[in-house]
């Protein structure tokens, strides 16, 4: 394992130290190097009267979530250990820090660990008289949503939920309103990903799954955990088709509709290849008569240095489009 690290055990804290210094105008990072529970809050604190937005999850998915703390998006983020959900004693103070008196929406990716820890933390925050609503993101179509699985995972679509709910909160919607907008995004966003190679968790020191040189894994989550099938490496066009078709079919996106097309990199795939996928995906959508009205291409929800990508579609309406376009100023997204 070759990584730019001093001590693998301190990888998260050392990274957050740099993040805090680089973006001191946007964020405050609490509890580093044993000083207490680690979480990130917006510089200047909660905005009075605004619904606060909190998200969190394992580290290793940067810029998710800390990179999206700032005006128009999140008020606090909670980074866990690498690929491990944060703990309730981190999440609860983050919820409190995000509360400007109008309540807090917790945006939780549907992974067992995230759900259990947020559930506990929300109970604790409510005991401290903070009003908390929760939205569960489950955009991954690779996993069958049934009694026989933990349900669909929350993956790259989380960025859409955070951005659009953040804009709704910024324009002054109340907690129920922000939650309703977030639920609408969840209902209209779907994703699927592919891994071309595994990644290595710093403190483990070896690849987190075994993938042969000529193999790829279709339908991964954001840790490389599988969903659909392992197949032989093939062309970008074919891989794009294998990702896009299930997403578009599951979303029942119809001719004449508008979508946001998001091609997300897993951390180890160059931007140039992401644009190859984007171009192919866009052509496939146009064949279906679907208009790509908004686009996002880049590394937003990564899995350390994993090679791979995911495709996300969000069905747009006028309001979601306006909220997507609303100003945002965070470390990883701003317009």
């Amino acid at each position: 394992m070759k990584k730019l690290l001093d001590d693998p055990e301190n990888a998260v804290d050392d990274s957050l130290t740099g993040f805090a210094a680089a973006h001191a105008d946007l964020v405050e990072v609490h509890g580093l190097h044993g000083a207490g529970p680690v979480f990130v809050s917006r510089a200047g604190g909660a905005v009075a009267g605004k619904v606060g937005l909190v998200s969190g999850g394992g580290s290793g998915h940067e810029p998710l979530h800390a990179g999206f703390v700032g005006a128009g998006m999140l008020d606090a983020a909670v980074p866990g250990a690498v690929f491990t959900s944060p703990t309730p004693d981190q999440i609860t103070p983050a919820i409190q820090a995000a509360d400007g008196g109008a309540g807090v929406l917790a945006i939780v990716k549907n992974y067992t660990g995230d759900v259990l820890n947020f559930e506990t933390a929300v109970e604790l925050a409510e005991a401290e008289d903070v009003q908390v609503a929760t939205v569960l993101v489950n955009d991954d179509v690779a996993v069958e949503d049934s009694l026989y699985t933990a349900g669909r995972r929350g993956v790259a679509g989380t960025v859409m939920v955070e951005k659009i709910a953040g804009a709704a909160a910024a324009r002054g919607d109340d907690l129920a309103g922000v939650q309703a907008v977030a639920e609408r995004v969840v209902a209209n966003v779907r994703s699927m990903g592919v891994a071309l190679a595994a990644c290595t968790v710093p403190h483990v020191g070896k690849p987190s799954f075994d993938l042969g040189e000529g193999e790829i894994e279709i339908g991964i989550g954001i840790h490389g955990e599988p969903g659909r099938q392992r197949i032989a490496m093939t062309s970008a066009s074919e891989i794009t088709r294998l990702l896009l078709e299930p997403v578009a079919d599951d979303l029942h996106v119809a001719s004449g509709e508008r979508v946001l097309l998001f091609v997300n990199g897993m951390g180890g795939t160059p931007q140039s290849e992401l644009y190859v996928v984007y171009g192919r995906a866009r052509a496939l959508l146009e064949e279906r008569g679907v208009t790509v009205a908004r686009s996002l291409v880049g590394n937003y929800v990564t899995s350390l240095e994993m090679q791979g990508a995911s495709i996300t579609l969000l069905r747009l309406d006028d309001e979601l489009e306006q909220l997507w376009d609303a100003p945002v100023h965070t470390a990883a997204m701003h317009w």
């Binding site: 699985t149 968790v201 955990e225």
Partner: protein, 211 residues
């Protein structure tokens, strides 16, 4: 052999040593069907437990429950993932029914049953889903079946059942937790949470056998 607060402290220390020794094996099991960090997360938690207990001198009237509560809150705030809240809840519920200086055999049964109830309530899992419940549930049942025996025999029965339960997860297809994403491909691998449960209960026996 008395199952008192000193035993609970020895249990925690023994569990920490066992987990530290097995952390690579547990992580390897998790690499097969999960995300490959179970051993390391649990090791981080139990190292924190030992540090917390070392920093908290035993009071003369300390109860088993007080020690287990400290274990619970420390695991909850350091392990993360699914294992943190699940083990945390297990120990927290166990603490509630063991708020006494010494456990008899029925109290050991109550401890295990409370732990299982906590885990199933928090994780919404039941037996046969390839999770830690597949080790905890048979452990509690074996303990209840051994009622009337000595406390050590009850613990031994529980640990043996947990061990067998963990092994029995190998052919199962996971329907809860991260392994469920693998579907049929999860068969053939032992569930890391069930294995760590067996290790923790074996540590409880070892702590009871110490003078």
């Amino acid at each position: 052999m008395t199952l008192d607060a000193a035993w609970a402290r020895r249990w925690a220390a023994q569990a920490a040593a066992t987990v530290a020794a097995a952390k690579d094996d547990l992580t390897e099991l998790d690499r097969q069907i999960g995300d490959g960090d179970h051993g390391h997360n649990l090791d981080r938690g139990f190292r924190a437990v030992v540090a917390k207990l070392d920093a908290t001198p035993a009071a003369a009237d300390e109860t088993v429950g007080a020690v287990l509560k400290l274990v619970a809150t420390t695991l909850m705030s350091t392990v993360g993932g699914a294992a943190g809240p699940l083990y945390g809840t297990a120990f927290l519920r166990a603490a509630k029914v063991t708020d006494r200086e010494e456990l008899d055999a029925p109290a050991v049964v109550a401890l295990l049953e409370a732990a299982v109830e906590g885990i199933t309530a928090r994780g919404h899992a039941t037996t046969g889903e390839k999770t830690m419940v597949d080790a905890w549930q048979p452990a509690a049942e074996a303990a209840a079946g051994a009622d009337g025996a000595t406390t050590l025999a009850v613990l031994e029965a529980a640990a043996a059942a947990a061990d067998a339960g963990a092994t029995a997860t190998i052919p199962l297809v996971a329907t809860k937790g991260r392994a469920s994403y693998l579907g049929e491909r999860s068969a053939g691998h032992e569930d890391p949470g069930a294995r760590s449960t067996a290790l923790l209960l074996a540590a409880a026996v070892a702590a009871a056998e110490e003078p």
